[in-house]
Amino acid sequence: MAEVLVLVDQVDGAVKKSTTELLTAARGLGEPAAVWVGPGIDDAAIATLGEYGATKVYVAGDDELAKHPVAPAAEVLAQLVGEVSPAAVLVPSTADGKETAARLAVKVGSGIITDAVEVAADGDRVVATQSVFGGSTIVHSTVTHGVPIITVRGNAIAPEAAAATPARVDVTVELSDAAKKATITGHTAAVKGGRPELTEAQVVVSGGRGVGSADGFGVIEALADSLGAAVGASRAATDAGWYPHQYQVGQTGKTVSPQLYIANGISGAIQHRAGMQTSKTIVVVNKDPEAPIFELADYGVVGDLFSVVPQLTEEIGKRSN
C-alpha cells in the first residue's frame, strides 16, 4: 500500500487534534506516514502519532526549518513526495497549512483541493468532499494531475485511534535560498485560557456587538464554562477590543464546526456565517426578531441576552448538580 503523507500540526511539541483527524482520514487512502517539520519532537508526540495509525514518522528536525515561514515545510514535503510517491498528501486547513500545500503543488506539479471535510478512496482516485458557499452546496472533487494534495478542515472528521508502532525516519533537507528569504524574528503567543481550543471544541458560545463591552463577555464566559465550551466572538466584538482577535469566528477568523454553537448578540452577517454555518446545532439569542442569524437557528430566543444567558447558565448549573 502506498504511503499517505500527513503534515503534523503541533504547538510547542504537542500534536494537535487536527493531526489525529488527518491520520484517521489517511488510513482510508493508504499507509499513514506523519511528517514532522522543525525541532521539538519527543517520544510522547511519536506515541500520539502511532496511536492514530502512523506507521512511519518522518522527522525533519533541523532548527533552521522553524526559522522561516511556510516554504521549509513545502520543501520537506516535496522531497518526500519525490522519494516515496505517496497516494496523497494531507495538510491541515490552517493558513500555514494551505500555503504550504500551495507551494508544494507548484513545486511537484500537482493539483490541490482545499478545505475538504472528508476524503475517500474510489479505486485509485482520491475523492475529496467540500462544503462550499456557507455549507449550502456539497462538492466532490478529484485531483486530476500529479499527487493529490488536499487540505482538510479541522473538526470535520472524528478521530479514531488505531494503534501502530511507528518507525522514526530522520530526513535531512537542504533548504533552497528562496525558502530562506523570509525570516521569523519574533513571536507573540496568544494568551491561552483554560477553555477548549476554539476550532476543536464540541460546543462554542459566541458573543457579538450585543454583548456591549469587555465586561459583558463575563456572561458569555460563564455560559461557556457551564457547558465546557470554547468562547467565540464576532468581528464587531474583537474590533472593539472586548475580546481578543484570536477568538474571532468567521471568514477572516476561525472556521468552527462544533456540535453546538450558541450565538448571542450577533446579527449574522455573511462573513460571520462563513465561519460557523456548518455547526450541527445552532442556538440564537438576539433581541431583534429580524436578525438574519435566526435563519440559521435550530432554536432561537428573541430577547435580551443579559437576562436569557444568565438564566440559561443557572439552569444548566442546577441540572448538572
Binding site: P69, V106, V139, H245, L296, R319
Partner: protein, 259 residues
C-alpha cells in the same frame, strides 16, 4: 517604491452563489461583480505605503471583460495604473494556472512588493499569494496584520493560529493582508473622475509568453466530479423571551442531549 496589488472580481458577497450545471463552474453572470473585499485592504495598504514613501501603485487583475470595473475601482481609490489580463482561454482556470498568469504578469517589471488579499470570497483557498511567491522565488510575507517598509526590508506581523509572528525579508516580496490591517477608503468623486484618465493595459495570455492550452478548464489539475445542494435545514423553533427564555433553551438542550 513600485507596488503591484492583485485584485480579483468576485460575485457580490451577499448574492447567493451557485455552481453551473454542465461545467460545474461558479455562475458569475447571475450576480453583480465586486472587488474581493480583502483586496480593498490590499489596495489601501499599498496606497498608504506610497503616500508615506513615494512611488507608484499598479493594480493587476485577471478576469473576464467586466473585471475592468474592479481595476477601475482600484484606480479610483488612488492606484496609478492598471493591468488587466483578459483572454477567453482563461475561463475555468484553477489556482495553479491563475498563479502562473499573475507571476508572468509581474515578472521583470521591477516591483518591490506585490500585495494580495489573503483570501478570495469565492474560491476561499488562500493559496494564490503563496503560489506566486513560489513561482517568482520572492520572499513570502503573508497574512499580514501590519506591514512596515524600511530601506530595502519589509517586516510584517503574520497572524497565525497561535498568536502572531514577526517576519522580515528583503524586497522584492509577496505580501498578503488580513482585514485587521487598515480601513479601506471609499473612492472620492475626484478619484472616480481621475480614474477615467489613468492607463490600463489589456494583456492576453500569449502576450505573457504562456500557452493558452496551459490555462482554463481543460488545463485545471483538479476537477469537480459532482455537486448537490445540501438539503435545506428544517426551520427552527423561535420563541420570545417572557422571563423564561433561558429555561426554555435549557429544556431544548436537555431534549437534544447536550446537557
Amino acid at each position: 517604491m513600485k507596488i503591484a496589488v492583485c485584485v480579483k472580481q468576485v460575485p457580490d458577497t451577499w448574492a447567493e452563489k451557485k455552481l453551473r450545471e454542465g461545467d460545474s463552474l461558479l455562475d458569475r453572470e447571475s450576480a453583480d461583480g465586486v472587488m474581493n473585499e480583502l483586496d480593498e485592504y490590499a489596495v489601501e495598504e499599498a496606497l498608504q505605503l506610497i503616500e508615506a514613501q513615494g512611488g507608484e501603485v499598479v493594480v493587476l487583475s485577471m478576469g473576464p471583460e467586466r473585471a475592468a470595473e474592479t481595476v477601475r475601482k482600484a484606480l479610483s481609490m488612488g492606484a496609478d495604473a492598471g493591468i488587466h489580463v483578459v483572454d477567453d482561454s482563461l475561463a475555468g482556470s484553477d489556482a495553479i494556472a491563475t498563479s502562473a498568469v499573475i507571476a508572468k504578469a509581474l515578472e521583470g517589471k521591477d516591483f518591490d512588493l506585490v500585495i494580495f488579499g489573503s483570501e478570495s470570497t469565492d474560491a476561499r483557498m488562500s493559496v494564490v499569494p503563496a503560489m506566486v511567491a513560489e513561482r517568482l522565488g520572492w520572499a513570502q510575507v503573508t497574512f499580514a496584520q501590519k506591514v512596515e517598509v524600511s530601506g530595502s526590508d519589509v517586516t510584517i506581523e503574520r497572524a497565525t493560529e497561535n498568536g502572531s509572528d514577526t517576519v522580515t525579508a528583503s524586497m522584492p516580496a509577496v505580501v498578503s493582508v488580513v482585514e485587521k490591517i487598515n480601513e479601506p477608503r471609499y473612492p472620492s468623486f475626484k478619484g472616480i473622475m481621475a480614474a477615467k484618465k489613468k492607463p490600463v493595459e489589456t494583456v492576453a495570455v500569449a502576450d505573457l509568453g504562456l500557452d493558452t492550452a496551459a490555462v482554463g478548464t481543460a488545463a485545471a489539475w483538479s476537477a469537480v466530479n459532482d455537486f448537490a445542494a445540501r438539503p435545506p435545514k428544517a426551520a427552527g423553533t423561535i420563541v420570545t423571551d417572557e422571563g423564561d427564555g433561558g429555561t426554555k433553551v435549557a429544556t431544548y438542550l436537555v431534549d437534544q442531549k447536550f446537557i
